[in-house]
Amino acid sequence: MNPTISRRSFLKITGLTIGISVTPFGYTLLNAAEVKDFNPNVWLHITSDNKVTIYIGNSEMGQGVLTAQSMIIADELEADWKKQVQIRQGENKDAFKSPLLGAQITVASASMRGFYEPLRKAGAAGRAMLVKAAAETWKVPESECKAVLGTVKHDKSNRSLTYGQLCEKASKLEVPKDPLLKKEEEFRYMGKPMPRVDVPEKVRAKAVYGLDVNDGNVKELKGMLYAVIARPPAYGAKPQSFDQKAAEQVKGVVKVMQIPMGIAVCATSTDAALKGKDALKVQWDKGALPDMDNAYIEKLMMADLDKPGAKVHEAGDAKKAISEAAKKVEATYYVPCVAHTTMEPLNATAYVQADRCDVWSSNQNLTTCQDMAAGITKLPPDKIHIHTTFLGCGLGRRAFPDFVPEAVMISKALEKPVKVMWTREDDIKHDRFRAPMTHRIQGGLDAQGQMIGWSHKTSCVSIMKPVNPQAIKDGVDYYCLWGLWDAPNSPHWNARIQYEIPNLYIELFLADLPVLCWPWRAVQNGPNAYAIECFIDELAHAAGKDPLEFRLQNLKNNKRATRVLQTVAEKAGWGKPIPKGQGRGIAQHGCFGSWVAQVVDLSVDEKTGKIKVHKVVAAVDCGPVVNPGPLVEQIEGGNIMALSTALKEEVKFAKGGVATSNFDNYPIIRMSEVPEIEVHMVKSTDKIGGIGELGIPAVAPAVANAVFNATGARIRRIPLTPDIVLAALKSK
């Protein structure tokens, strides 16, 4: 993917360019010709060589956003995908800010949610302008002209003009505000499988990731340095001493400098920087909370459930309803920290010069990268150039680009281009984890087994407090609550508990721990759905009802949840006998505008406690489907990642810091543990929803419910490691 073309070379080519202006109230389509100081990084540009160049502002991390967003434009524009379309990664520009989120950020499964309609309109507007330009040229009514694969045709007179021939004339026309969109049956690309454009270059090793940026592939980086940073081993730890001379004596080491994040060693190669770091022999103090380990965290967060928290939501009188209920159920759940561990460790390359700052990085948040770099360099935002490469996975971690400021700081100080690499150990120990949670839920059922009350107390490490404390109002950090509750008018749509509960009470306690947390694929939809869907299973059992029936009964007005549940049940053969010794569990969840239901089949070895997952079935409703292939890939991949957290992953802490360091002590699911996965799409005409995170939330509860079904043991924490399972089986 050629990153960008320079403004100068761009201005030499005339043609039709359409972009948008994002306002707090939505967006407006613009023709670049109307904009005085126009910005080349707009969405679509048609040039006289008959090429259609599409600029994508979202980050590509394997979810297929370059392909899917381009398909939308190309389809509505009626462009020829194979012959005309070329796709470029856009720089940091306001035109790429999400109309939904207000920033150029690839998170919250919002790339399609935010851009589906604007991109369709941009493509359709371009098509309308080209048709109008042709009609004016031929002096015939527009209604007699038709756009077909990059050409406007007038069948009556058998004339045609290519988009390349028409683009200059079209660029003089006004952009229609509400262009006529195609009908679904007219779609040429949308809804049909399109191979991802990023795949061939990834397979051929031509794809450049952040860590691959060097003076061989970016000429401005001549003379670049490679830096690594000795980072504190415990939260809040400060260096007491270090051997700067020893590090500087290592061959290739150019500079040792202390920065707020630690002690940076800059060298002419990665290996020299790593050796220099080892030579530092830094002595650190004990940090903010030297007693903190896993037991400390779990004990504290369980105790938090008895402390008064912030009231998040109250409808009816849950306490009274539960006290008067025919059946009462109470359960407490724990979900520990899990790490992102993107395969490409965090990194950034920066080059600060007097009048500009360039950053090359695999990041999910160009807006914050720009703000951070501007803050350090004191350069105006338009002098900051963020060149986004391919991402070796994002998973949310790369949406908080704390890896950028350090590269900018060092480059500014040394006046040289610098790449800062986090080692795998840095990447794990200085991750911002999925926030750990404890939940205590009380539920009440009437005599018919209908839910009448739900009281939910949760403790969670605040996600926003370290980065944006103003986002916390009256003690509520909604990031902790997604899947259970959300702010009014949230851009995340259906992030609230979906069950119909007349008396509902939700309370949040923000755990007082120094552990840094941040969105991890699906954010807290994962831990919240786990607690909700396990508890629903417990309620169904208490009501003497089938878990599927109980869910349908308590979701009866929710058509989309009902449909995915019915589909998954049918496809998985719910209610039909399963092999002896196996268990089957079900769960559903809605988030980011989409719905999913999952059925998991597994068996538990009662001697070893080892769980073997045999099959996972998913039913998905995400509204219109743009590119079906990557959509299934996202659910498969999400399901596999969720299985990994359900069965294996837990970050270990010791002495006030992170003890987990690398893949030898952080188990991640491998090929032999991955079951068959079936993904079924439910045909839906609802608004388009997100897909990148939907594969996560309903898997862990379906696994836990299947373990109960197989063994009769309720295990109210994950991961379900063999020792946890064995202990539960023994105490059953």
């Binding site: 397979v203 090793a205 990665t270 395969m343 490409e344 070796g392 996975c393 893949f663 090929m671």
Partner: protein, 153 residues
């Protein structure tokens, strides 16, 4: 100076003996298709061929690779069945681990052109893909096997 033969070309690199081959490939020879991920030989993202065998370049020193025939992902032919199969089956998501995975598969299939499903799993159980493309990898391997078989005929 250490002389290396990589993808059929000879290089002389001014680097000490103990540097992992990975950094020499990436920083000195600018062959960045070989990826750093764990640095301890646990994940397989850095796999290359040394004398035809799959080795983890993060866990092998440049001295050990001296005088041997090193092949990186850039040296695996574009028409290699594994590369073709990986595109056909749309195996990569983020794609970061895949060069190493493909190198491991290519070496495996050259030793065992028709592996059973169990043999595939046991051979590939030491790679990590955080995107969770394992099912696609299995499919990709099977497709590569079929492609090789057809080409052989």
């Amino acid at each position: 100076m250490i002389s290396l033969n990589v993808n059929g070309k000879n290089y002389a690199v001014d680097v000490s003996d103990d540097v992992p081959l990975l950094w020499v490939l990436r920083d000195y020879l600018k062959l960045t298709g070989t990826k750093y991920s764990c640095g301890i030989g646990e994940c397989g993202s850095c796999t290359v061929h040394i004398n035809g065998k799959a080795e983890r370049s993060c866990a092998i020193s440049v001295k050990e690779a001296k005088g041997k025939k090193i092949t990186t992902i850039e040296g695996l032919p574009e028409n290699h069945p594994v590369k073709k199969a990986w595109i056909q089956e749309q195996v990569p998501q983020c794609g970061y681990c895949q060069p190493g995975v493909m190198m491991q598969v290519a070496a495996f299939l050259s030793e065992k052109p028709a592996p059973s499903a169990d043999q595939i799993i046991s051979k590939m159980d030491d790679v990590i893909c955080r995107c969770g493309t394992y099912l696609r990898m299995k499919k990709g391997i099977q497709t590569a096997v079929q492609m090789t078989r057809k080409e052989g005929k």
